[in-house]
């Protein structure tokens, strides 16, 4: 089946500076696809081209086989968007906003269960300007879903939400996906990306630095496994640095933290046994997406 979103060699510059410099990816129907990257990496510009809000300088964007610029109205019918920064009319109530936006679509979702799900029911008669940041954010998520879209684009989904509301929103997004909707998620929350996304494109300096599943990204980064221990006797530095597939060594208060792969872990254990050194509080953990992300987007040493 053809991908539901296809971005091929997308380029966009502002005032001669390339914000997006040759980005390509394809999102399959029904997946949650994450776009992860540091601030100013070109994430928002990329999704704005998908939403039809910006005209690419070069490259090709297709949403459900349509060009978001030339067929903007048709794309808007199948794609719901939550923008990073936008407001509504200050004196518009939540109910009026939901009814108004529902009227824009040929077959809208029923807004009542949607409002209930997002905890907006007690606020239906409140004006937009009187809502808290989190309530405004939840209203925008509702508006993104109100047209019963095939695809939703969520830019900084849970920014401004408290941890509880964030988790509730994640549940909602998982339910949305279960009902067959494709989700394009822009985020800089690693926990969110790791929890929700089937695949992630890491964008850095306007280019795709990596594209894989969250586990794939972690495995691929140099220090995928972390082993830490407090040795009963000092270990010789050259022995440590000779460990296979080692990515980093850190000493702190007599505790040694090594990153590498499973191979590194096995070698460390043999090394300790050979020298009859006991390892206190030996911990072997997988690196998080955080570590992988930092590894993928680190500044090249000049």
């Amino acid at each position: 089946m053809a991908p539901v979103i296809e971005v091929t060699d997308l380029r966009k510059s502002y005032g001669g500076r390339a914000a997006v410099d040759g980005v390509s990816f394809a999102v399959e129907e029904g997946e949650i696809f994450g776009i992860l990257g540091p601030n100013g990496a070109g994430k928002t510009t990329t999704v704005e081209c998908v939403e039809g809000l910006r005209v690419p300088d070069a490259g090709r964007v297709r949403v459900a086989g349509l060009d978001p610029v030339a067929d903007q109205e048709q794309v808007a019918r199948v794609l719901g968007a939550q923008l990073q920064q936008s407001e509504l009319q200050p004196k518009l109530t939540v109910r009026e906003a939901l009814e108004l936006y529902a009227a824009f679509y040929p077959r809208p979702a029923d807004w009542r269960p949607l409002a209930e799900r997002l905890g907006l029911t007690p606020k239906l008669d409140s004006r937009f300007a009187r809502l808290s940041g989190g309530q405004q954010q939840r209203l925008f998520i509702a508006l993104a879903l109100i047209g019963d879209p095939r695809i939703v684009v969520l830019d900084e989904l849970t920014t401004g939400l408290d941890p509880r509301a964030r988790r509730d929103t994640w549940h909602l997004i998982e339910d949305v996906r279960t009902s067959g909707v494709t989700v394009l998620l822009v985020t800089h929350f690693m926990e969110e990306a790791q929890r929700l996304c089937d695949r992630i494109a890491v964008i850095d300096k306007g280019q795709v630095a990596a594209l894989d599943t969250p586990t794939g990204l972690i495995r691929r980064s140099a220090g995928a496994t972390v082993v830490s221990f407090t040795p009963s006797a000092p270990l010789a530095e050259p022995d440590l640095y000779a460990l296979p597939a080692l990515a980093s060594v850190e000493h702190r208060d007599g505790r040694i933290t090594l990153t590498g792969t499973d191979e590194t872990v096995n070698a460390v254990i043999s090394l300790l046994a050979r020298h009859h050194v006991t390892a206190h509080q030996l911990r072997v953990t997988d690196a998080t997406l955080d570590d992988a992300f930092l590894d993928l987007t680190k500044e090249e040493a000049v």
């Binding site: 809000l53 808007a76 923008l83 920064q85 936008s86 009319q89 004196k91 518009l92």
Partner: protein, 244 residues
């Protein structure tokens, strides 16, 4: 034009007591204050035998649409752009232009309502005769509303923020009121001044309304001046307006 958007914008306009007062009520209130001065209800030779109250009815009619078009509408539109409301709407099947046209209908309608109120209060309260050439009057009034909306759209197009829109709006507001005859009715202006003022949108509108009120078909030069301004300003607004 989208009816759901229009309904919403009408509802939101009704929640703005400031807008309702200055557009709908203030011009008529001014008329009532002027009309309560006894000397303004006596014929005045310098006004060609008309009473001051007679010449102030068209002024009040223009005042409502100047406030609505130049002060209120640019503030609202610029605010909608500044707050990303236009952008938000651009991601739906309804184009943000629907919001613009709804705004024009709301403020154009409010200005017309204000004009009718002034005419009614003038007639009932102070015995000011209704326009004797009603079709000519209606035509001049519609053109005046259009020119006010077009000028307001240009102000919105040129203003990046609501603050700038407020500043430009006020800068244009006072000359517009002068041309409409708020301080000195056009009939009382010296010839040269009246001719200069007649080249401005609201000066031409004032003279066209006066002629129609007196029973003549409004002069084609005045209607022509209005039409040229409408075309120029609409073109400028279309060229310079930014959605974000």
């Amino acid at each position: 034009m989208n009816t759901a958007v229009l309904r919403t914008e009408i509802r939101l306009f009704r929640r703005e007591p400031g807008g309702i007062f200055w557009i709908l009520l203030f011009p008529t209130l001014l008329l009532v204050i002027l009309g309560s001065i006894p000397s303004f209800r006596r014929p005045d030779d310098s006004l060609g035998g008309l009473r001051t109250i007679d010449v102030y009815v068209p002024v009040a009619v223009l005042l409502g649409l100047i406030v609505g078009g130049l002060q209120s509408m640019p503030q609202t539109l610029t605010g909608y752009r500044e707050r990303g409301i236009l952008r938000r709407m651009a991601t739906t099947p309804v184009r943000p232009a629907a919001l613009l046209s709804a705004q024009m209908v709301v403020y154009g309608g409010a200005a017309l309502g204000s004009a009718l109120l002034s005419l009614a209060v003038g007639r009932l309260g102070f015995d000011v005769r209704l326009p004797e050439q009603p079709f000519g009057y209606a035509l001049a009034l519609v053109l005046a509303v259009l020119v006010a909306l077009a000028l307001g759209a240009v102000i919105s197009a040129l203003s990046r923020t609501t603050k700038i829109a407020g500043a430009i709006g006020s800068a244009v507001f006072f000359p517009a009121m002068f041309c409409a005859g708020v301080w000195l009715p056009v009939q009382a202006m010296p010839d040269v001044l009246a001719r200069i003022v007649g080249c401005t949108p609201f000066g031409a509108a004032a003279q066209a309304l006066n002629q129609a009120a007196a029973g003549h078909w409004p002069g084609w030069t005045h209607l022509g001046v209005l039409s040229v301004w409408i075309l120029l300003l609409t073109g400028a607004a279309g060229r310079w307006f930014r959605w974000e």
